[in-house]
């Protein structure tokens, strides 16, 4: 059973921004969906996932890439050619 408090906590973890007014609706929908997910409790088998390709990495060498101007063009807040972010401290 997922409570409104759980949903509020998950919303905080995900930085999703939930209003108190939305909590009841989201909690109700969550419970219906999570109840459906509970079918997975009965799954039998090994978890070992088989894959035939592993860690495809390229050599760590410099290659042509976007210019600083192109890479920052879509940022809403910029300063001196850098992307500006909200304060962390």
């Amino acid at each position: 059973m997922v409570t409104e408090k759980d949903v509020e906590h998950i919303g905080e973890l995900a930085d999703i921004g939930i209003d108190t007014a939305e909590l009841a609706t989201f909690t109700g929908q969550f419970n219906a969906i999570v109840e459906y997910f509970d079918v997975l409790d009965r799954v039998q088998g090994e978890g070992a996932v088989t894959r035939d390709l592993y860690n495809i990495l390229r050599e760590d060498v410099v290659e042509p890439s976007l210019s600083q101007e192109e890479a920052t063009r879509n940022a809403g807040a910029q300063e001196d050619g850098f992307i500006k972010a909200p304060r962390v401290m």
Binding site: D15, I33, L53, R87
Partner: protein, 434 residues
């Protein structure tokens, strides 16, 4: 290379396009002068790309997706960007932040999703071909609902570079068109190795469809004709399979027991991957700007609350929940076991049969607004998600109508046997045409 221009002025009464390129340029090659619509979660250099989300409004990619670069090199003209469920999260295209797309066959009904704009643009004759993406059925569902052909390629066969990620381990770009030959032609351009996608295989596709299916063994899983599947839809699909038998194919009854868990596993995996992938949308690098005077959590929460629609917020939270401490083993780890079981079921079946056939969707296109409850919408993906969990190819080809609405025949194949599912679809299409 010579550059030409075409005029593209579609009568878009279905809200299929989010953005139309009025005079697109094109070069020469296999697709010379063909106007191709591109789903709005596929990056197009210089053309706004929003994933039908307010959080990417105004975002203009500085580079092309690999598949877009390939179709441009082959001479295609990019006709515009098509509507979709926001970030691909939906089965109806009603979850677009810019209004739903209407089904050209009946404007009171949804076109399916999430590539509903691409399907409607093709079905209405606005473009000859379109690119869609398929995470849990998002090419095949709208193809079935709008009466066109859509191919979900084998995972790894088409590069995902430039596809804005929703659920990386499940999704792929694929071709949509009115007929199988055009789907095959577009596939031949977009398939192949790309070193910028670390899951890309070197398996190009150069194939001309063949209608010869004599001796083909077709698996008919009972789950595809069981509870939840509309009787009339099942009957139409069975008749279509009968047509394949007349062409020399043999049917083999079979079962996919892992389907009992497939849908739950799919939704746990896709929401988990989404919760991680969509963390990048915070108003810093693209989209409407975060207020840099606020603390970062407050600023991000403002942007994400205003920018994401309800379904996207729901899925991000579900994924965050499924991956959170204390629940990981119960949901995510179990979903991976269920996924492996689906893969094993397909591998077992494909030792006895060459393809598996069933309906693409359990019903015809639903009415706009009919599925307001999220879980009931999720349940309609039951016949398409096993393919994504298994990474196998599947095609949807129109096979008749119920209540005047198109029904899709789904043909699933062994990994990297995209050519074979194309051939079976082609054989059916040619047989009903003649």
């Amino acid at each position: 290379m010579a550059v030409h221009t075409i005029r593209f002025e579609p009568d878009d009464r279905y809200n299929a396009f989010l953005n139309v390129c009025a005079n697109p340029i094109h070069g020469e090659g296999k697709l010379a002068g063909i106007a191709i619509a591109v789903k709005d979660n596929i990056s197009t250099q210089g053309i706004e790309t929003t994933c039908a989300s307010k959080i990417l409004k105004g975002y203009v990619p500085p580079y092309d997706a690999h598949a877009v670069g390939l179709i441009k090199n082959a001479g295609a003209a990019i006709a515009g960007k098509t509507n979709m469920d926001e970030f691909g999260m939906g089965t109806s295209t009603e979850n677009s932040a810019f209004g739903p797309t209407l089904n050209p066959c009946d404007t009171g009904r949804v076109p399916g999703g999430s590539s509903g704009g691409s399907a409607a643009a093709v079905a209405a004759g606005m473009v000859r071909m379109a690119l869609g993406t398929d995470t849990g059925g998002s090419i095949r569902c709208p193809a079935a609902f709008c009466g066109i052909v859509g191919l979900k390629p084998t995972y790894g066969r088409v590069s995902r570079y430039g596809l804005i990620a929703y659920a990386n381990s499940l999704e792929t770009i694929g071709p949509m068109a009115k007929n199988v030959a055009d789907v095959s032609l577009l596939m031949s351009v977009i398939a192949g190795h790309d070193r910028r996608d670390s899951t890309s295989y070197d398996r190009p596709y150069s194939h001309t469809p063949s209608a010869k299916i004599d001796g083909l063994r077709i698996g008919i899983p009972k789950e595809y004709f069981g509870a939840g599947v509309d009787h009339e839809v099942a009957a139409v699909v069975k008749r279509a399979i009968g047509r394949l038998e007349e062409l020399g194919a043999k049917t083999v009854p079979c079962s996919i027991p892992s389907m009992e868990y497939a849908l739950a596993a799919y939704y746990v995996i896709c929401t988990s991957e989404a919760s991680s992938n969509l963390a990048r949308f915070d108003g810093v690098r693209y989209g409407p700007a975060a207020d840099t005077k606020k603390s970062w959590h407050a600023a991000y929460q403002d942007v994400r609350k205003q920018g994401f629609g309800p379904e996207v917020r729901r899925r991000i939270m579900l994924g965050t929940f499924a991956l959170s401490s204390g629940y990981y083993g119960k949901y995510y780890a179990k979903a991976q076991v269920a996924r492996e079981n689906v893969r094993k079921d397909f591998a077992r079946l494909f030792t006895d049969v060459d393809v598996i056939c069933g309906p693409t969707m359990p019903t015809i296109a639903f009415r706009l607004g009919e599925k307001s409850d999220p879980l009931s919408m999720y349940l309609s993906d039951i016949l398409t998600v096993p393919v994504n969990l298994g990474g196998i190819p599947a095609i949807s080809v129109p096979c008749g109508k119920v209540q005047g609405m198109p029904v899709g025949l789904q043909i699933m194949g062994r990994p990297f046997e995209d050519e074979r599912v194309v051939d079976v679809a082609y054989a059916y299409e040619q047989a009903v045409k003649s």
